[in-house]
Amino acid sequence: MTRRFIEMALAVAGAVFLVTVPWSIPALIDNFWVSVITEILIWSLFAASVNLLFGYVGLLSFGQALYFGFGMYGVALGIDRLGLSFWPAFGLGIAAAMTMALVSGIFAVRLSWHYFAIITVVFSLIFYFLAVSMKPLTGGDDGINFTLPPVFRLDGKAIGLTDPTFQYFFVLAAVSLCFFLMYRLINSPLGKGFLAIRDNNLRASLIGLNVYALRLIAFVMAGFLAGVSGALFAFFGRYASATYMFYQVSGEAVVWTIVGGAGTMFGPLVGTALFIVIREIVSSHWEHHSLIVGLLAILSVIFAPRGIVGLWNGWMARLGERETVKKAPSRLTLRAEP
């Protein structure tokens, strides 16, 4: 049983599972869980935006909900107020999120990580309060609802997300594409540049990397991911609300990412899935599921500081090597600025 075999088998099993969800899940459990899994996919993309910044560039952003919100409202307002059809609205949401990320990133990525974390919250809070106060436009915390335009027309028949199976596959395709792009990015020269900055940003500037520019690029890319997930969320729920721009939403994504495993490809997916599944299962029997979530967060940082996927990678590494490997320093030890 080599490491490669196990990982390949897992990958295939995972892919098969995901592709057959609209049929296997209702048969085994319940129709409702198809939409839960759809939600998990959407939120894992949001967690991936946190992961890109924190796990690969070393920037802890606590305000990704801001770009999620721009993606969400871009779609909602695009459809509701501007009468846009599906794809233009999608595009508007993503463009809005990326633009906002660029504008706020210009200021934010100059700061060292403590202040960066704080300013990302501050920016997201400012816009949260703005959204709440502009209730006629945004619906505030209550939000706005809208009807979904079709995704595309085939032979005169409109195909849209109102069909749960189509919706599931649409989300799956979008999320998979984004994860694939992330995968290519991490293994590209730019990706290695990110890792260098994460590891030692002083050294990175000394070898000639423009740390500021690279961080800004990463920030906009993360804004893209958050924007896509926000747009998908709006499509999924036909709904947008300022509540999803609040810092607690950002905070949850940070927890999902770190518990799942920051700096790993699938960490955000695992972490998001874990917490949402627990929430769904526990809350149907006991209303105080937040206690479990809180306890899980605490226990996992004490016993699995590199996250679940990090733990798994550790086991796999031991499996794949014969000689003893000295334990590498924890990737989560952020180095202080000199």
């Binding site: 540049g193 890792l195 030692n200 500037s205 590498a328 320093p329």
Partner: protein
């Protein structure tokens, strides 16, 4: 008369009430290994920090091969060809050894490609393999740099200096903390490098200094105390005094007098 590699004009750097670099006008010519020595707190590392752009001067100017680099950002100065190592060995701990070299090489490019796989860049890969052989770390290529022994990290730093093909290399106490065997290895490598690269080295190990330096400049309290070839410096009374004056550096005095 050829342009000096590195030249400063009345360079001053203050930190609040403390003057770390005091009206320093130094001129280092090419083709020779320069050593900078001096007691602790003399401003040697501050000088490197100013040259590489990590600090801005309070006043004065810095010229690299005739170009005014005063106030330029660190990565800009790096791209001009000035590379340095740090006093505390500093690499990319979570990247493996090969990737450390890889990214150092790639950092020269203005544009880092986000689409192609990193491994597809043949030119860089070949250079990385060559450099690994030159520094003797080929066997450790896949190991995370953070797990390397101290001596190997130092060699990796030298490898990173090599692969970046600098025009001027600033080494800050490269043999600090090394065993005698590691030190000889490092000294040999530095001599190799000096054949094609201009080098300025800060060192406390007097054997190393008097062994490889062509010119020595002695810093004290942010200014030049003395400069000249090794023999002249060894005989200089003021140099002995500067070291003698600080009891904790008595062993430096010992070494300087035996050089």
């Amino acid at each position: 008369m050829s342009e000096p590699v590195l030249r400063t004009e009345n360079l001053t750097r203050r930190f609040g009430g403390l003057t770390a670099i005091d009206n320093l006008s130094i001129s280092l010519s090419g083709g020779r290994i320069h050593a900078i020595i001096g007691p602790n707190g003399a401003g040697k590392t501050t000088f490197f920090n100013l040259v590489t752009g990590l600090l801005g001067p309070s006043s004065g100017r810095i010229y690299f091969r005739g170009r005014d680099i005063t106030g330029c950002r660190p990565y800009v100065i790096s791209r001009m060809g000035i590379k340095r190592t740090l006093q505390v060995k500093s690499v990319f701990p979570d990247l493996n050894v090969a990737d450390n070299l890889w990214i150092t090489r790639q950092a020269r490019n203005r544009f880092l490609n986000p689409f192609r796989a990193a491994t597809s860049d043949k030119e860089t890969r070949t250079r990385v393999e060559q450099t690994l052989q030159q520094i003797g770390l080929s066997a450790l290529a896949e190991r995370p740099a953070g797990t390397l022994s101290y001596g190997d990290v130092a060699m990796l730093e030298i490898g990173m200096a090599l692969i970046s093909e600098p025009s001027l290399l600033l080494l800050d106490e490269p043999t600090c903390g090394m065993s005698p065997a590691e030190t000889s290895r490092a000294v040999a490598k530095i001599r190799d490098l000096a054949r094609s690269i201009d080098i300025v080295i800060i060192e406390h190990d007097m054997d190393v200094v008097f062994g490889i330096a062509d010119d020595i400049t002695v810093f004290a309290q942010g200014a030049i105390l003395a400069s000249g070839n090794p023999a002249a410096i060894a005989d200089d009374e003021r140099v002995r005094e500067a070291y003698l004056g600080r009891p904790e550096d008595e062993d430096f005095m010992e070494e300087a007098s035996h050089a």
